[in-house]
Symmetry: C2
Subunit: 145 residues, 2 copies
DNA sequence: CTTGAAAGGATCTAAGG
DNA sequence: CCTTAGATCCTTTCAAG
């Protein structure tokens, strides 16, 4: 991962659909050289994939919550979460809290329904998201950080 | 958003780089019809963008943590988080906890450094992520949920 | 790695249902 | 709002240096 690879990864994080020709110009490389680098980044799985991002509100999921769980049976909780369409992300964590889940749902009613269902697997503590910000470009860790 | 649009969004979430020709075949539509639908989904901002996903470990960020903050000055905390390269996501939430931040960093030492720096803006409670799962395809909310 | 040329696709347009 | 067919344009690949 030299500086050029970093720039390539950065650009593809911002815009996965940029053409190889245009990206080649951005990093001052010829198309064949650029394409070979991108191929290697994909092969090494530095780049895991290319995905469209959707607006949760437009998907009728205006309510977002982060739920902290204390649970004795993380496996059962994980299975519940993975099979529930409201769940976007789940994290097994070390500490007093054992599971953290991010959900997006339709209404306060559907949120209540989720919480009630989840209580079979642990003790939820629900935090409604008021606003959020997610980084589009993740940079390789460097010592300046 | 009819059934075809849902399928289009689903496929583009899985693979942003699928060609319009191939996607047209998947949804049993002609290329021009498919392209027009995709254009509208982009224009309506149902699809917000297309991004490459990277492997955090390959970016020298093997340690992931979710940090819960109690803070009196959320603005200052938000500014700190938005300017720090370790921070991937941050959420302003309602409740006892006021801020939830997801970070990815290089080492226990760099984690400590982050926590120490963050303590100027609030009281952090750090949860190290042991394992995680994120949904690739977000479906529109439907009554069956 | 670069350049340039050739091949193969993809997208766009136009005409028609 | 859709389809088909044709034309154009662009990207990628290949060969040579």
């Amino acid at each position: 991962m030299d500086q050029i690879d970093k720039k390539i990864v950065q650009e593809l994080q911002l815009n996965a659909k940029i053409s190889m020709k245009e990206l080649a110009e951005v990093v001052h490389l010829s198309s064949p050289a650029l394409i070979e680098r991108v191929r290697k980044l994909e092969e090494q799985k530095v780049i895991e994939g290319y995905h469209a991002h959707v607006d949760l509100k437009k998907m009728d999921r205006p309510i977002c919550a982060i739920i902290l769980f204390e649970s004795k049976d993380c496996k059962a909780l994980a299975d519940f979460c993975n099979s529930h369409s409201d769940v976007l992300e789940c994290y097994r964590v070390a500490g007093e809290i054992s599971y953290i889940v991010k959900i997006a749902t339709y209404s306060v009613e559907s949120l209540e329904k989720f919480i009630d269902a989840s209580m079979a697997y642990g003790t939820p503590s629900t935090n409604i998201v008021l606003s959020s910000h997610a980084k589009k470009v993740i940079e390789p860790f460097s010592v300046e950080d």
